[in-house]
Amino acid sequence: MAVNADIAGRRYPPAPVYEVGRAKIAEFAAAIRSEDPAHTDPEAARALGHPDVIAPPTFAVIVAQRAEAAVVQDPESGIDYSRVLHGEQRFTHHRPIVAGDRLVGTPHVDGVRQAGGNAMVTTRVEITTESGEPVSTAVSIIVVRGEA
């Protein structure tokens, strides 16, 4: 089944609120072997001017991928998850993600194009707080391998 090019330009409903916990930030930082105290020690984070511990720059992917699931799972998209590879990822941080944030990710499909038998789907997840403050924009390109 081919990827449906008509999904380009679509915006999907936001994923449920994701509440960022201190323990989750510490767990993620440990998983990437970052020992930066700004991820684990609220005092160290405050010394840098942050209100509480902050997440590593790629932590936003957790919120982004939860939201992107709406696109991949949309039966109309024609995306077969077992054929998906991650092609590209980009984050623009309007501010760091901080413990206590209640984040909402709204997924958009910015483009679908064919390249060498594969489909490249560009998704953009706008991450804001519950009250609408912009936090991060996560753009990813997923490659859906064609059936050889």
Binding site: K24, E27, F28, A30, A31, I32, R33, S34, D36, A38, H39, L48, G49, H50, I54, A55, P56, P57, T58, V61, I62, Q65, R66, S82, L85, H86, G87, E88, Q89, R90, F91, T92, H93, R95, P96, V139
Partner: protein, 142 residues
């Protein structure tokens, strides 16, 4: 080493290169922390059955590890205002005590006087092959 300031950084400056190990344990831990349980990152049987050479690292783990060169240099992980990469090659992680090695280096390629940000171009290789393309971070400095 103190925090670099905007005025102390020039185009062409290099960030000290580092080698980061990536083991099977790192992949399992990252799967749990990120919620990405794709089997190709922990199950050799399935990875090889879909044509991969072995278990491969999550692209996002490679991306996160490469960013540590920048965040450790900047001394504030919140200073990274933009970060993007292309995943150009697989990082194969063998089932032994050493795992894979990710070699990361960086060079300052631009400065923005208005925003007081610098752009760092990153190079990440594993087994001599470039695993990230167009890897770039924009860092706000005091």
């Amino acid at each position: 080493m103190g925090q670099p300031t905007y005025d102390s950084v020039a185009v062409g400056d290099t960030l000290p290169p580092r080698t980061f190990p990536l083991t099977r344990l790192d992949l399992v831990r990252y799967a749990g922390a990120s919620g990405d349980f794709n089997v190709i990152h922990w199950n050799q049987r399935i990875a090889t059955s879909v044509g991969l050479p072995d278990v491969i690292a999550h692209g996002m783990l490679t991306m996160a590890t490469a960013a540590r060169l920048v965040t450790d240099w900047a001394t504030d992980p919140g200073a990274v205002v933009q970060y993007g990469v292309r995943f150009t090659n697989l990082v194969v992680v063998p089932d032994d005590d050493r795992g894979a090695e990710l070699e990361v280096s960086g060079v300052v390629s631009g400065r923005d006087d208005q925003a007081r940000t610098v752009t760092v171009d990153l190079t990440a290789t594993s087994r001599g092959e470039k695993v990230l393309g167009r890897a770039q971070a924009v860092v706000r400095l005091a």
